[in-house]
Structure formats: structure tokens, C-alpha cells
């Protein structure tokens, strides 16, 4: 399949065939398995963004830093495309989890330019 075909969600991927390692955890934070990811692709979730929103992969405390590449390769294999054609999820601030009380505390900088 090409990139174009990923966009056309009417393309069928064939039957979902269970695999022996379907119950293996892929997203460690949210405890999402390989089988759940594969099934989500068959449910029509073709982009990494959709998979995240559907399953919460990469939405946990590590912010997807550990599983991003693993999820991408599973989705790509299911769609029969190269992982490189799948756009990774949007990077969002904060780059590391930050306590609300710290985020709320904006220091007043005394800069040279002030």
C-alpha cells in the first residue's frame, strides 16, 4: 500500500488474524497490547494520531518516548507500508511532565535587555 491508500479508509486490510504474541504489552505506561493495536488498525485507525486517541498508546506518563517506534512498526506492518510513511504523533509541550504548581510559577526574568 502507498501513502495515498492509507488515506482511503475504505481499503480493506483483510481478516484480522490473531497472533501468538497479541497479548504482549507494547505501551508500557498505558498497558496497551500488540493485539489491541492490531485490532485498532482493522477498526480503521490508520494514523498514529488515531491509534493514540483510540487506545491511549503513548499518552501515558512517559509521553510516548518508549513505545513510539514500536507502535509505529506494528501499525506499519498491519497496513503493509514502510514505517517511514507514517507521520509520528504531534510533539506537545511540556516535553517532560511538570507539576501544575511549577508550571504556574513563571519567574520574572531580569534580563540585560530590560
Amino acid at each position: 500500500m502507498t501513502m495515498e491508500n492509507i488515506y482511503d479508509r475504505a481499503i480493506t486490510l483483510g481478516e484480522y488474524v490473531p497472533e501468538p504474541d497479541d497479548d504482549r504489552i507494547i505501551c508500557r505506561c498505558e498497558e496497551i497490547t500488540k493485539g489491541e493495536i492490531r485490532r485498532a488498525v482493522h477498526d480503521g485507525m490508520y494514523t498514529i494520531t488515531e491509534i493514540r486517541r483510540y487506545l491511549r498508546t503513548g499518552m501515558g506518563l512517559c509521553q510516548g518516548q518508549t513505545c513510539a517506534k514500536l507502535v509505529k512498526s506494528i501499525v506499519a506492518r498491519e497496513l503493509e507500508v514502510s514505517p517511514a510513511v507514517l507521520e509520528p504523533a504531534t510533539s506537545r509541550s511540556p516535553m517532560r511532565p511538570i507539576e501544575m504548581k511549577i508550571f504556574a510559577q513563571e519567574a520574572k526574568e531580569v534580563g540585560d535587555n530590560v
Binding site: 504489552i25 508500557r28 505506561c29 498497558e31 501515558g60 512517559c62 518516548q65 518508549t66 517532560r96 511532565p97
Partner: protein, 108 residues
């Protein structure tokens, strides 16, 4: 045998902070001030830092640099504290984390 490296062939004897005591699940544990909590736990042979929310599976140190968040525990009452990058202080109260709570699942 302790898992601490007393003298390293290249790095020699590494400087440590003063020896302090803290508790893990109520038991007194010794460590060095300023080292990551996870290091002191490792030295004490404690491998399991938390049990996961959905499947109640054990987790411990994985990346050791504060990225993966697998090593989080309840520290001084706060959940989700990354023990691999949080410096140890005298008297800290560290607890195994069950899901996001200090209460074991059967009590939740």
C-alpha cells in the same frame, strides 16, 4: 554481597553523600544522601517499585534517566515520583505504588 561498586578500575572510589536512613513500605533502608532513591533501593535489593494499574504487574528501574517513568513510587505521599532521578533525603517515606495509589489493590 552488596551491589555497590566499592572501587572501580577506571573511576576509582566514587564520592557519596552522607549515609542516611529512609523507609520503604515502612521498613528502614540505608542509602547515601543525594543519590537517586532508586540507587539506594537497588543497593537494598528492592527490585519492584510499583504494580501497574490494569494488569497489576510489577515494574522497576528500566531507563534510569527519568524518561520511561517505570520506576515511579509514592514518595512522601506523592504518587508518580521518578525514583531514578529524585535525590534521596534523610527520612523520606517511600512506598510501593499500586496503580496511582499507595494502597494495595485488594484494599482499593
Amino acid at each position: 554481597m552488596s551491589s555497590r561498586i566499592e572501587e572501580h578500575p577506571i573511576l576509582g572510589v566514587q564520592e557519596k553523600g552522607r549515609k542516611v536512613t529512609f523507609t520503604c513500605d515502612g521498613k528502614a533502608v540505608e542509602g547515601y544522601e543525594g543519590e537517586p532513591i532508586a540507587t539506594a533501593l537497588k543497593a537494598a535489593g528492592i527490585m519492584v517499585h510499583r504494580y501497574t494499574k490494569k494488569e497489576h504487574k510489577p515494574r522497576g528501574i528500566f531507563c534510569a534517566i527519568g524518561r520511561c517513568t517505570d520506576c515511579v513510587m509514592i514518595v512522601d505521599g506523592k504518587p508518580n515520583v521518578r525514583t531514578c532521578v529524585t535525590p534521596l533525603k534523610e527520612g523520606m517515606v517511600v512506598n510501593t505504588q499500586y496503580g496511582v495509589s499507595a494502597e494495595p489493590f485488594e484494599k482499593q
